[in-house]
Symmetry: C3
Subunit: 682 residues, 3 copies
Amino acid sequence: MPSPYSGPSTPTRTLAGGALSFGGDYNPEQWPEDVWPEDIALMREAGVNLVTVGVFSWAHLEPEPGVHTHDWLHRILDLLHAGGISVDLATATASPPPWLSHRHPEVLPQRADGTRLSFGSRQAYCPSSPVYREHARALVERIAQRHGDHPALRLWHVGNEFADHVPTCFCEISATAFRDWLRERYGEIDSLNAAWGTSFWSQRYSCFEEVQPPRATPAFGNPTQALDFRRFSSDEHLANHVAEREILRDHTPGVPVTTNFMAGREVVDYWRWAEEVDLVSTDHYLVAADPRAHRELSFCADLTRGLADGRPWLLMEHSTSAVNWQPRNVAKRPGQTIRNSLQHVARGSDGALFFQWRASRAGAEKFHSALVPHAGTDSRLWREVVELGALLGRLAPVCGSRVVSQVALVVDYQAWWACEGTAHPSVDVRYRDRAEALHGALMDAGLTVDVVRPGADLSGYPLALVPTLHLVSDEDAARLTDYVRGGGHLLVTYFSGIVDEHDHVRLGGYPGAFREVLGVRSEEFCPLRAGESVRLVDPDGATAGTADVWTEDVHLEGARTVLACADGPVPGAPAVTRNAYGDGVAWYAAVRTDPQTTADLLRRVCAEAGVAAALPVPPGVEAVVRQDEQHRFLFLLNHTDGEVSVPLPEPGEDLVSGTAVTGAVALVAGGVAVVRTEARAG
Amino acid sequence: MPSPYSGPSTPTRTLAGGALSFGGDYNPEQWPEDVWPEDIALMREAGVNLVTVGVFSWAHLEPEPGVHTHDWLHRILDLLHAGGISVDLATATASPPPWLSHRHPEVLPQRADGTRLSFGSRQAYCPSSPVYREHARALVERIAQRHGDHPALRLWHVGNEFADHVPTCFCEISATAFRDWLRERYGEIDSLNAAWGTSFWSQRYSCFEEVQPPRATPAFGNPTQALDFRRFSSDEHLANHVAEREILRDHTPGVPVTTNFMAGREVVDYWRWAEEVDLVSTDHYLVAADPRAHRELSFCADLTRGLADGRPWLLMEHSTSAVNWQPRNVAKRPGQTIRNSLQHVARGSDGALFFQWRASRAGAEKFHSALVPHAGTDSRLWREVVELGALLGRLAPVCGSRVVSQVALVVDYQAWWACEGTAHPSVDVRYRDRAEALHGALMDAGLTVDVVRPGADLSGYPLALVPTLHLVSDEDAARLTDYVRGGGHLLVTYFSGIVDEHDHVRLGGYPGAFREVLGVRSEEFCPLRAGESVRLVDPDGATAGTADVWTEDVHLEGARTVLACADGPVPGAPAVTRNAYGDGVAWYAAVRTDPQTTADLLRRVCAEAGVAAALPVPPGVEAVVRQDEQHRFLFLLNHTDGEVSVPLPEPGEDLVSGTAVTGAVALVAGGVAVVRTEARAG
Amino acid sequence: MPSPYSGPSTPTRTLAGGALSFGGDYNPEQWPEDVWPEDIALMREAGVNLVTVGVFSWAHLEPEPGVHTHDWLHRILDLLHAGGISVDLATATASPPPWLSHRHPEVLPQRADGTRLSFGSRQAYCPSSPVYREHARALVERIAQRHGDHPALRLWHVGNEFADHVPTCFCEISATAFRDWLRERYGEIDSLNAAWGTSFWSQRYSCFEEVQPPRATPAFGNPTQALDFRRFSSDEHLANHVAEREILRDHTPGVPVTTNFMAGREVVDYWRWAEEVDLVSTDHYLVAADPRAHRELSFCADLTRGLADGRPWLLMEHSTSAVNWQPRNVAKRPGQTIRNSLQHVARGSDGALFFQWRASRAGAEKFHSALVPHAGTDSRLWREVVELGALLGRLAPVCGSRVVSQVALVVDYQAWWACEGTAHPSVDVRYRDRAEALHGALMDAGLTVDVVRPGADLSGYPLALVPTLHLVSDEDAARLTDYVRGGGHLLVTYFSGIVDEHDHVRLGGYPGAFREVLGVRSEEFCPLRAGESVRLVDPDGATAGTADVWTEDVHLEGARTVLACADGPVPGAPAVTRNAYGDGVAWYAAVRTDPQTTADLLRRVCAEAGVAAALPVPPGVEAVVRQDEQHRFLFLLNHTDGEVSVPLPEPGEDLVSGTAVTGAVALVAGGVAVVRTEARAG
């Protein structure tokens, strides 16, 4: 097991002086200046200690080209500082003002079908645009110069949710930049031809000038072209981030720099991005249609901690209640925003920030909830905000501690892109599906997962899970094989290991890169029809669950059958297999097991790997441990509508209630506890 | 109760010499000229007295620029006049001929994504195009000159279904016109910035030149920009109507001018348009997928009468049977077209016209039914047409009378636009939903509704209903409050009163503008998930219905709970409230009540308001009263498949059968009666 | 009954020297040259005797403009020839290389909304482009010169699946070509105006220059314009085919020329195309979502044989297992690819070719199955391929024989286009629906159908079926009428005979062109709502099935009622009628009968027509007879999961098992037999 507390101390630790951060996006320019003092007073009432200012302020900082109006920002920074509130200062480049595209229409992004997008919402720029880049960097330079020494400044916030609405731009400027990127990557055009498989469909290029972005085409486009375009686009956005960060570092070398990720989405390759921030921060919003959306939250939180390499991170945005951009924007129930916040903290966030401070009166997000709702402070929501602020205050000791985990879950954004490419065996194979299924089953079992990248060092983990890793390099696959050979336990799910970095299929049988370690060879994918399912049986022929979406024509090459298909396209074929390999064990799930079967399988896999939960948890209770050199913090969150009792292995102090707890802790419906005990050996 | 017969006599009265109008669109240019005499003979057989000529005749009147061929039109006008048939003469500007866009491609409209639409269907023009305007007005000038003194002329018909297919155009010409309109509206750019809330998302404009139509953008556009663009577009179309009308008035001051609305749709703000016609006319087509589409018809008919300020109006188009543009175009059953026609007449139309006279052989509407079907005159449909003509003849005494109503229903097109904007709490909140639900429940109860605009004088109505009036001005909201204070009864449904004219949320709690009069304050919207519903209970805890789509976190501030949520997102919260306010009573429906609960609630509200039906009607029977100084006309329409008997309060004469009726009137399945009695005091 | 073996011997007979063709698309340029010898060896192992080479090789044959690299092709032809494998040599024009559109962007096709498509998939050219045409023809000239005398060459393969992804192009070049085509068709603009019905909606053109392709318009476009554009587009693609063919014929007059159709789709008018090939070949892929997709296969195979005028044809492409372009690409079960192949052979294909030889590692079709799968030759699939090759070898005697049929089924691509036009009575009326329903019911009854064009000579058939022939010329309708008068039996289904070649409705009652022969007259279409159905009763009032989608207000004019609607829109109206006419009988199905009712009706119709199956077949068994002057070949295919026994009328030899069979033949689940007996008189 890896040490739950290791590595250098990070800037995070100092963000708010050892306290968990609490606050959110603060957009004072939306309100008359006489509201500002009330804002500060309310922030103090709620215990807010960090606000993000300036995310969409470009038009207010530079209302016309060359006209700079920073005084208002200075005034609000002063006010915040006087109120004891630190500032996460944005570079304001997330959305250029109307004058930029009015004067330089070529900065506007273009869709794959050639549609030129218009100014009128946000983020209307081509990430490769030299005009955008020049103006954005000049703005950052000026902000750093003017405000870099302000005592309220605790953190720099570059851009905002990079690539959210324009993950890829298809304009001519982007096309030229793409060709440059390809020249850099491939050198010779025939290297590109080989990588892209252009012998297919008469696509052989004679020079880089002929290459286009993957615009609208008569039939399916080239999948490697599409994959490279995703890589290129991620890099283009990242170049913008890095360029701004460099300016900020030049001016304020001591101030950490972040940019808020959307870690649960695949708009860029966050593994590459994570290397370029001082502090990993992310935004997370609940899926309103899902009554169990708190599970998805936990998955995303663990994923974010993975990006932070296990170090504390920061939840930069979530919502106090409903958002405005989903079809039906469900409000949070009483207590839910506190519970959600603590889920993030439990899984490594050193704080909980929100979008946004005050609900807007106008604009596209006026129905997005906020810390101060439309209804004002005489409201349940505001009272919960105040309660949350106080609670986070009491949880300050948690700050800087690390989450404890025994299981690694491999997630990769490039595999995600490749997995969900066009013209694949089944549209029902979605990248996150198995990752969340495995994560959720372990969460139910009281186990916490560390998300890692494919090439990660797994030596500290007794068990590693590899869901749907469609694309994997030979090198990364070899590491996973070596991991098992050296005694590790590995579970791989279907459609993994199929293609290499160029999206070329590995020949000889599926799952390609993992055939040897899994001891199986599939001759063919056998996806199911919509609504179709197959029955699974154990080696004794007893029914042991069902599967849908996917089966395969699996043949054993060393492995033995754990579950088999009783019917469907490949009756009798192995559905789940186990292979003793070297000193370890490798399991393969060749079908999409139902939730109960997934849980049963993981129970068995964990038992063999010697992975056990810290304590037994009742259904619907989330249990996570953070730990530092001195203490161990057991987070318990009751997501059910009933009261539950959780037995405690040792007595401690509940930081939520401020009381000593021993034997067991009782949680009311929706209740939370954070039990502090002495640290145990890692 | 307002007098059911008041105001100046209108041009309507004289349209067809005191008779109800009967006929339809007549497009003789689609047929060889030797068919025309047969047309006239058949029209006479059917009792047709008014036909609309020339709607799509531009290409035949001006086949090439500057070449004018009006003789054929003169000949058909002569023929019609000789046959005793009056003409509603169209200005022929609804669809320019191919040569216009061939020579001036910039007249073609553009979609939000930049797609330039092509010639090849109809209405292919940008409403702001100076080229279109110049050519259209020259055509109208010539038509008025040439045909204005023709004795067949009874009515002018400007354009056709303005804004139907191109409600908004996004081309550069439109963009320029939009900026001019905004300059006119706002004067200073910072007024626009304030109104649009451009501090949000860095949208602050430095000058009007930077402003764009709400074209395709990377994320949600600015909602006030979208709202103003709807207003602008409505005004641009209206300017075209008014310009044509002025030419016609100059030439023929005595001939009334109309244009056919589509009152049940929100393509323009018909409240503004209604001020600019001499006679309100509208088109209506049944929703084929809805087996109870006759209810929707009645709603639209009442809405049209509202636009006409209670005066008689004219049904310009409906269909004898199926249309061609819905997914499954259901034919009308025997008797249905007669019954539908009488529904319109019952609700204030002084006639029933159809699209079109003769079913086309070719073109996009060849499968649209007509007065003369493809099958010819040896057909049930033609026999019904003849029967309808005779029936309308017998109903001539109805002409000019007014519909009697005690309930006002507030409908507003701008509120409609605002209500269905993007990024709202729930896509399931549709503007017309509650309006139709309330209307239908009252219709079932034998009550007729007057549709009024938000600022209307309600002094004559004991009860006013305000469904989903999302946007409302402070002034109009105050009038409604005053109405209750003065003794009126008011029912408001959820998502009303939320924003002002600039689409800015009213702070302090929902439903903003109506909080005081309703005596409630909602802290939060709590929309339901798809398929979710909540149980409603009365104050004794007894189940009293269900709700779906919408609930709110309602708090009482003076009101008392009539129904409460038993479960769902806000268990225990008020669902329906009643507030005694001043001398009146204000009810709030904070949830989407099911149909039975809606009916139960309205029964109670009507009882308190002293609103009662003129007579008890069996289920499925529609009863409406028209009245003039001498007579009262009770329309009874049996929409069921069985025979019913309707008790009569007093004896009278059934104009349909021409017989005296007393005690009760028996209606066969699908049958109709119009019972004339002496007028009673209003 | 037509002679099952007549007409001149065709090139097909000689394609592979009297053997059934077996092989597929071979794309050696996708693989290193050292793989090629292994390819040849494996082909020999499998019994491959024909491969298609060069379909997507343009970029490899002409990597830069004017640079020609044909040596690799020559080498592979030599290798194939040495291996005894013949070649179907493609003209390589199906997909131009990137340099063509890079240098001449105007060759790229355009969508109806103006979107210019990009290079990056395949087939990215406007079919009317002079640049494309010039370059393509120069390439073909060079291929013919260089390889025309190669001894491996057996067949020319022009292009590939013409019009698949770009059935219609809307660019300016296409627009100009369309106008030229219209001038040719109509001569005078007023002929076009008459044909298109441009009096409707002010569409009258003053000259051809004003005419546009049916691009995106504000409302429904002109249907005749759309129909003519389909005709024009089919002709433009055909002109490309013919131009290439002429070059090939000039060089190699003895080598037959084909191009692979997609006969089951309506992208072009294959009746016209069939006249322009020496050998009809087609591609067919199973509909994965349909568990009974083998029925659709049989329909398409019969349709293809119809295009070949009853002569043998060639299945140019199908798949050994799953494809990659459907939402869920279901793999074939063991034995299924053999059974599918034999279905095609049973219905007239003299062979079974596949896409493609070796499954690709890269590109958009890498998950499309192949003869050599990703898993390699140690696989069930490869063993089946080898088995299939051997089996086809044993079936060589079948080569050149003709399918025996007594029933003609009229199918027409222009009627298909017209039937599925916009603004029709019901979106649920799909052209192929009734054709497949009738075909399938007869297949279940052991009867084989010949597909014919509307004007075909039906003298040899006792029974003809006319499903949904929406558009039909007066002449073709008269032939069908004469056919009945002369003693034929005819079954027509609803929405037939409605419009003429100009898409003009025939007046006087439906079904227009067939009213007289059917002895009925419908006054109105009465389509049903989604999910709605009606009950059908026989003349005694007994329930006799159901119908959905469609009913009509049918009146008898000589016919008598076979089934009537018991409820629905026209209770009491005839649903199915029978009319004795001349010496024959004409039946009309005015409703969409359910499958059982369709089968019952056909049983009765066949009995009256004296049409009987050759032998009784158990459910799920397909029985088809091919016959030549010497022999009769009874194909029996068991599509069920159980063993069945089929009684044989006479003893014979099963070519599949190589054994004598007598009395009955037993078929295991999925099994096939081909029983050869002596020929009987036709």
